[in-house]
């Protein structure tokens, strides 16, 4: 796909798949083209899922774009509802979704608008701990391997 700009940058030296072609509609104009990114998996977090597997995500983020680009998308959600979700901004149709996982708090320590904000204290703790391998493992143990210690409710 074509993309504006990028001419004169070092992307063109280190990314052989970034090519410069002549604009077929404007002879003499160089244009950068890049191949589409096709991930095998996308892991995204949404607000809600319905029984059909449709998902509502934050329309200011790129979750829907990632779902449409990827071969398989796994969505964690704050909650599920029985009635079908309304179509609108942030709606990701079920045929892009491979699996839905109910994981309230799943975006922590990041924010999930309408549910919770960024946990600045934990992000700072992570940044400090992640400087060393031992610290990184400590973070995993303290926050992720014991999700109940973290206020993440388990369904059922």
């Amino acid at each position: 796909m074509p993309v504006r700009g990028f001419l004169g940058t070092d992307y063109l030296k280190v990314r052989p798949e970034f090519r410069v072609i002549e604009n077929p509609y404007n002879p003499g104009e160089p244009v950068v083209v890049v191949p589409a990114v096709r991930p095998d998996f996308a892991l995204i977090h949404g607000f809600r899922a319905d029984a059909q597997g449709n998902v509502l995500t934050d329309p200011t983020q790129d979750a829907g774009l990632m779902a449409r680009a990827s071969r398989c998308t796994v969505v964690t959600v704050e909650e599920v509802q029985k009635s079908p979700l309304e179509r609108g901004p942030g709606f990701v149709a079920a045929f892009y979704v491979g699996a839905v996982v109910v994981a309230p708090g799943g975006a922590r320590p990041g924010a999930c608008p309408g549910y919770y904000g960024r946990d600045e204290a934990e992000i700072k703790a992570y940044v400090d701990l992640a400087r060393t391998e031992t610290g990184f493992r400590e973070y995993l143990t303290r926050y992720l391997l014991r999700p109940q210690a973290y206020g993440m409710g388990l369904p059922g």
Partner: protein, 243 residues
């Protein structure tokens, strides 16, 4: 007697001065000072400007995420964009990738996102960096993430116009691909700026002093602007108001 203000407040008013009434002005991530400047402009001299602030719900008018923002930029919809760099060189090249060799870097950064495109398509790109030193302002960047120069025939409606630091303001001459000192901040000498800048730049015969924030600007900044900025940058607002 001048009004007591912090250097961040001076920079916010300097950056606000780059925004014209009616502009569509956009601010990317981790940019509290440009975001404050955009809001200050809206509240003062540019009430008809449109602010696009990444991370803000009020000032992010898109339903298709950052893709829609980048699409808007590619169709020429952004008048002003703020950009920074790990390194910036005298030809206006920006490095957001690595320090050292690309394959074996001393430090690896997060990369450029869309800056290689925005640097072409945003009509005026204002460069901003909080560290004015020779390790930042280098003769030649280690990696060109966004290019100051343009190959012949390329479509480039935009590009860099100015560089703002805690010591001074430079203008960028796109024709010559070179910076020219516009003004020195209060109390800063020319020798200091020359000593701390690793690239060559043009020097006017008498460099004026950067205008200080007015009482009205400081009142609006410390009131409604910071209150609104706290939505996106609560930590920055906390630090700035901590005295």
């Amino acid at each position: 007697m001048g009004w007591a203000y912090r250097v961040e407040e001076l920079l916010i008013t300097v950056l606000a001065g780059e925004i014209r009434d009616g502009d569509v002005a956009a601010v990317g991530g981790r940019s509290p000072i440009p975001a404050a400047a955009t809001l200050l402009a809206l509240y003062t001299h540019a009430p008809n400007a449109t602010a696009i602030i990444l991370g803000s719900r009020r000032h992010f008018p898109f339903t298709e995420g950052s893709k829609e923002f980048f699409d808007l930029a590619q169709r020429g919809g952004i008048d002003l964009f703020f950009l920074s760099g790990v390194q910036i060189d005298g030809q206006g090249n920006i490095n957001l990738h690595v320090v050292g060799d690309y394959e074996q870097p001393r430090v690896r950064f997060q990369g450029g996102m869309g800056s290689g495109m925005l640097y072409y398509m945003a009509r005026r790109v204002v460069l901003f960096r909080m560290e004015h030193s020779r390790r930042v302002f280098v003769p030649r960047v280690d990696f060109i993430t966004a290019s100051g120069t343009t190959p012949p025939g390329a479509h480039r409606p935009g590009g860099p116009t100015a560089l703002v630091t805690p010591r001074c303001v430079f203008d960028f001459d796109r024709e010559r691909g070179r910076f020219r000192l516009r003004s020195l901040h209060p109390g800063v000498t020319l020798a200091e700026v020359v000593g701390r800048t690793g690239f060559e730049f043009d020097i006017p015969e008498a460099a004026p002093t950067t205008p200080e924030p007015t009482e009205e600007q400081l009142r609006v900044l410390r009131g409604p602007v910071l209150a609104e900025l706290a939505e996106v940058y609560p930590e920055f607002v906390k630090e700035l108001t901590a005295g």
